[in-house]
């Protein structure tokens, strides 16, 4: 933590960056912090409550953050994957961001929880995460971390769901999506959702109805997950941001599993590796095509 604060203060003092995006202590646990003065670097923290994916603030869509000037961002390994995604898709230039990579031993499910990691408190995605430190960084901070508690509850839920009939799955998602209020928090929080105009906001023609009608909610989630295929970094933010608790990570994770099985692609923090959708191989499998 001391190391992080020192580096942040130095970057700001030297004028190398105008803002350091990290986490600070908030009234309800860890929250995003935008540090613009070297003396404020003391506010920065990093522990298992630093759940939020701060890469989302780098997208050019966040004009209020972009307006602050060149940024340094504190990044866990999964956040670094999102930054790599933004670089890969020409949203951010590598030289325009300073990445303060932190070694990570997993995070808890909510930033309001105590920082102790147990099988009950660890975030589902961390329970299967293999990455303890990012490879995309300018500074690597912190001691090597132990592996987080191994939990596979999300994978088991997906497997159980896939055991059911399509009709049963349809009923399951109908029930879940019934609660959706179409606030689009899942989109707003996502570092990889950076379109200037989202297809869900189009009115001429209307592809996805804007009301929170079950029909529209199905179309919205199917489209959102489709657009995330092979790009989702599994930071879990969509599900965490959802105000009505729809298990969105079941969809994103299942899609990631399918993409990995089919194209051997895992999200990585190497911006030079192309995403699987948008590229192709002439010998891609086509067992489903008559």
């Amino acid at each position: 933590m001391k190391e992080l604060r020192q580096i942040a203060a130095k970057l700001l003092t030297d004028g190398a960056v105008k803002v350091v995006i990290g986490w600070e202590e908030g009234p309800r646990g860890a929250r995003a912090a935008f540090v613009t003065r070297p003396e404020d670097a003391e506010r920065l923290i990093f522990d298992a409550r630093c759940v939020q994916n701060l890469a989302t603030y780098l997208s050019p869509r966040r004009r209020h953050v972009v307006g602050l000037g060149k940024a340094a961002v504190v990044a866990k390994p999964c956040d670094a994957k999102a930054i790599a995604g933004l670089i890969r898709e020409s949203q951010v230039k590598r030289e325009d961001v300073v990445i303060l990579g932190v070694r990570c031993g997993g995070v808890v499910r909510e930033p309001t929880m105590p920082a102790s990691l147990t099988a009950e408190t660890v975030a589902d995605r961390c329970g299967i995460c293999e990455t303890r430190e990012p490879t995309l960084y300018d500074h690597l901070i912190g001691e090597p971390q132990p592996e987080p508690p191994r939990v596979t509850r999300r994978e088991e839920q997906i497997a159980a769901l896939m055991q059911k009939t399509p009709q049963e799955r349809f009923a399951f998602w109908s029930q879940q999506l019934e609660r959706c209020i179409r606030c689009h928090a899942c989109r707003e929080v996502c570092p990889m959702c950076f379109c200037e105009q989202c297809v869900a906001d189009k009115t001429r023609p209307v592809w996805i109805e804007s009301s929170s009608h079950p029909r529209a909610n199905f179309a919205w989630q199917m489209t959102r997950v489709m657009h995330q295929a092979g790009r989702c970094v599994d930071c879990g933010e969509c599900e965490r941001a959802c105000p009505v608790g729809i298990p969105l990570n079941l969809l994103t994770r299942y899609t990631a599993q399918s993409v990995e099985k089919r194209f051997g692609h895992k999200p990585s923090d190497d911006p030079s590796i192309a995403a699987p959708i948008g590229t192709f191989r002439s010998d891609d499998s086509q067992e489903f095509i008559r």
């Binding site: 009608h213 997950v225 192709f280």
Partner: protein, 146 residues
């Protein structure tokens, strides 16, 4: 006049086809007077690469019981690579749809060239039969009820 009981279920199927291969193949099937089920409505697009998965979602929203996506065989795309992109896209989309409960049996993906009128007839007939056996897509259609 037919009563409700005597009216057999006829599936509504929407086919999204590319202009250069499958549309021409379907045209050949027609001019060759091949007999095929009249349940398929054809939507002609420039290329399978132009077919957004949203088209399929929209078709289901508007009451389709099944969909067909068909275009040029690999290496035959008029635009060089549109069908390769479509192949990846639909490989993923059908799994997402499956996860959300849209039975993959309701979707047919095929390569039909301009000379394969017979294959088009088979694709149409097989899809119609398969969807007929599955019955109407009441789950999705019931979403539209207010």
């Amino acid at each position: 006049m037919a009563t409700e009981e005597t009216k057999a279920f006829e599936p509504k199927i929407v086919a999204f086809v590319c202009n250069w291969c499958t549309y021409t193949g379907a045209d050949l099937a027609g001019t060759s007077r091949l007999q095929m089920s009249p349940n398929v409505r054809v939507v002609r697009l420039p290329c399978t690469g132009r077919i957004d998965p949203l088209f399929l979602i929209k078709a289901f929203e508007r009451g389709a019981d099944g969909v067909i996506v068909s275009g040029c065989h690999p290496a035959d795309c008029h635009y060089t690579a549109g069908n390769y992109h479509a192949r990846r896209r639909f490989a993923v989309f059908r799994e997402i749809a499956d996860m959300m409960g849209v039975d993959n049996q309701r979707m047919t993906f095929s390569w039909v060239s301009a000379s394969e009128g017979n294959k088009w007839r088979d694709v149409v007939n097989e899809t119609t039969e398969r969807v007929r056996n599955l019955g109407p897509f009441t789950e999705y259609q019931s979403l539209s009820r207010d």
